[in-house]
């Protein structure tokens, strides 16, 4: 059973500073929740570089290759048609479709990659939602959470959260 220690902040800057302090103390499983972008939080959490650009590049290259080979196959192998003596395989006229399919697949892979891999979409539930007070994370409060599987570690974590400046600290236990 996982446990989530939650700490609430009213100021974004204080929240970012507390995250940095807790991470430097070696608290594992930290995450931050906010109703609006918090500058510097990636740095405070020491998050790795986003993987979205790699997904986009891979999708884009595959889409461009796919778009080009589709045209090459259809126009010069499957149905070669003579239009005003132009070559059946016209490199330059294939470029617009290649570009468009590259963009299309890049965008689709960002969208679906983010939704299903990074956001974990089929799962619409998170144990944190058990907490009524945590709803203010969608309104006007900034939250830090630390995940732990060890029941005995919770009091220590709650103490560290208070020391880091959290106004309210409580713990959510995963039910399922």
């Amino acid at each position: 059973m996982r446990r989530f220690v939650l700490g609430q902040f009213t100021e974004a800057a204080a929240c970012v500073e507390a995250v940095r302090k807790l991470r430097e103390q070696g608290v594992p499983g930290l995450d931050a929740h906010s109703p609006r972008p918090m500058h510097g939080i990636d740095d405070a959490l020491a998050l790795p570089r986003s993987k979205v650009p790699i997904v986009a590049l891979t999708g884009g290259v595959l889409g461009a290759l796919g778009g080009y080979s589709l045209q090459w196959y259809l126009n010069s192998k499957a149905y070669p048609i003579n239009v005003g003596s132009r070559p059946p395989h016209g490199f330059w006229t294939n470029i617009p479709i290649t570009f468009e399919s590259g963009v299309l697949i890049a965008v689709l892979s960002i969208f679906f990659g983010s939704i299903f891999v990074f956001f974990g979409l089929p799962r619409t539930y998170h144990p944190l939602f058990e907490s009524e007070r945590f709803r203010t994370a969608c309104l006007d409060a900034y939250w830090i959470s630390a995940e732990t599987g060890d029941e005995n570690a919770v009091p220590e974590l709650e103490k560290k959260f208070r020391e880091a400046g959290a106004h309210k600290v409580h713990t959510v236990v995963e039910r399922i």
Binding site: A13, P37, H39, G40, A44, R86, G90, W92, T93, I95
Partner: protein
């Protein structure tokens, strides 16, 4: 996180660069003098070299004004602390109006249609007669006067308003600049298109391409953004107090602009080439045919690879855009390849079989460029390096990448 301490923006006018300014002016004068001597021996070669250099440096100034207007039109805030560079470069436009006079005096050596001296084919003769109401020296001069009046007004006023705002901190100047910038962008796109038609496309008076003007415009804009990147990275790594007001995030944004407009340039170049290729009509093909045969073919391929493919893949990288030497290097290369691009546009109009390289290409480039750099340094030294009165200056100093 503690709010970042903002750098001091209350900087006095730049006091260095005096030696550079005088050096550039002397080099410019010497270059122009040598080009004049070259023109006495082979007027056509020297004047074409001069035309390339003049369009090249003019394009940098036009691109700088476009960038300022684009930012005003978009209501951008991130760029305020680096805006003075572009305003300064844009205010050098009157110099290019003066430097246009030699081209007018030697027009018959540059543009074939001014006086078709060689015996021409009947069709050619009829076409030139047909185009006479537009392509005649009087209307040509009148148009140039109009373009320069308009460009000078915008380039000079945008800087003047910004300078007056330094003293008064009156946001009304920002409102005014934002009101005038959208129509300014439209007017610049139209007038520079016609400028490119008049000065470059009419070198081959029977050829036409409607996208040609934008091709030159965007090429100039890319090189102007490259110049801005070069200035930003140079100032940031020079360790001067001015470097502290330019953040790595602003440099990153300038790199993104360079990337975006490199792609847009390729889009323009490709649209022109692909439509001509697919249309396969003799009167459109002549321009491409000359430029894709013999010695011009490798030059064209070099432009495709060097102006698009290589910078595109390099500038995809976030780390390269954030590193001053890397971005500065790419920007310097873009400034080189833009000259090659203009060379490839101009020279094949008269040289079918050889590159036509002449020593005046160097002297004209240094001549026009030296004077332009000296003028820009003079204007930069005359005012504060940062628009301190702008209401959004603080926002630009706090800017971080989203």
């Amino acid at each position: 996180m503690k709010p970042r301490a903002l750098p001091d923006t209350n900087l006095p006018p730049y006091s260095g660069g005096r030696k550079e300014m005088i050096g550039a002016a002397v080099a410019g004068a010497a270059g122009l003098l040598l080009t004049l001597i070259g023109a006495a021996f082979s007027p056509q070669r020297a004047l074409l070299a001069y035309l390339i250099a003049w369009v090249y440096w003019l394009g940098l100034a036009i691109g700088a004004i476009t960038l300022v207007m684009g930012h005003h039109a978009a209501g951008a805030r991130w760029n305020v602390s680096i805006r003075r560079f572009s305003e300064t470069i844009g205010a050098t436009i009157p110099l290019f109006a003066v430097l246009f006079i030699p081209l007018l005096l030697g027009a018959r050596h540059v543009w074939f249609w001014v006086s078709p001296h060689e015996p021409v084919a009947k069709e050619m003769h009829e076409l030139l007669q047909h185009k006479r109401p537009y392509l005649n020296l009087g209307f040509f001069t009148l148009r140039a006067v109009f373009y320069f009046a308009l460009w000078t007004a915008f380039g000079w006023l945008l800087r003047a308003w910004s300078l007056r705002q330094d003293d008064t901190a009156d946001p009304a100047f920002t409102v005014r600049a934002r009101w005038w910038s959208p129509p300014g962008l439209l007017l610049f796109a139209i007038t520079f298109t016609f400028g490119a038609f008049d000065w470059l496309m009419s070198l081959q008076p029977t050829w036409y391409s409607t996208i040609f003007g934008l091709y030159i415009y965007i090429g100039s804009f890319v090189s102007s953004v490259a110049l801005l990147c070069l200035v930003i990275t140079g100032v940031r790594s020079s360790g001067s107090p001015l470097g502290t007001v330019i953040s790595v995030d602003q440099q990153h944004n300038a790199g993104k602009l360079l990337f975006a407009f490199t792609v847009f340039w390729a889009y323009m170049a490709f649209s022109q080439y692909m439509l001509i290729w697919a249309g396969n009509l003799p009167e459109e093909l002549q321009w491409i045919v000359v430029r894709s045969r013999g010695v011009w073919r490798p030059v064209g391929i070099l432009i495709l690879v060097g102006h698009f493919v290589v910078p595109f893949f390099l500038l995809l990288s976030r780390d390269l855009k954030r590193s001053p030497p890397a971005l500065g290097g790419i920007a310097a290369w873009m400034l080189v390849i833009h000259y090659i691009d203009l060379y490839w546009v101009v020279m094949p109009a008269v040289e079918g079989s050889s590159l036509g390289l002449h020593w005046t290409h160097l002297t004209a480039f240094v001549g026009v460029g030296g004077l332009a750099v000296a003028a820009a340094l003079f204007l930069f030294r005359a005012a504060r390096p940062v628009p301190v009165g702008d209401p959004f200056l603080q926002d630009s100093l706090r800017y971080v990448q989203p």
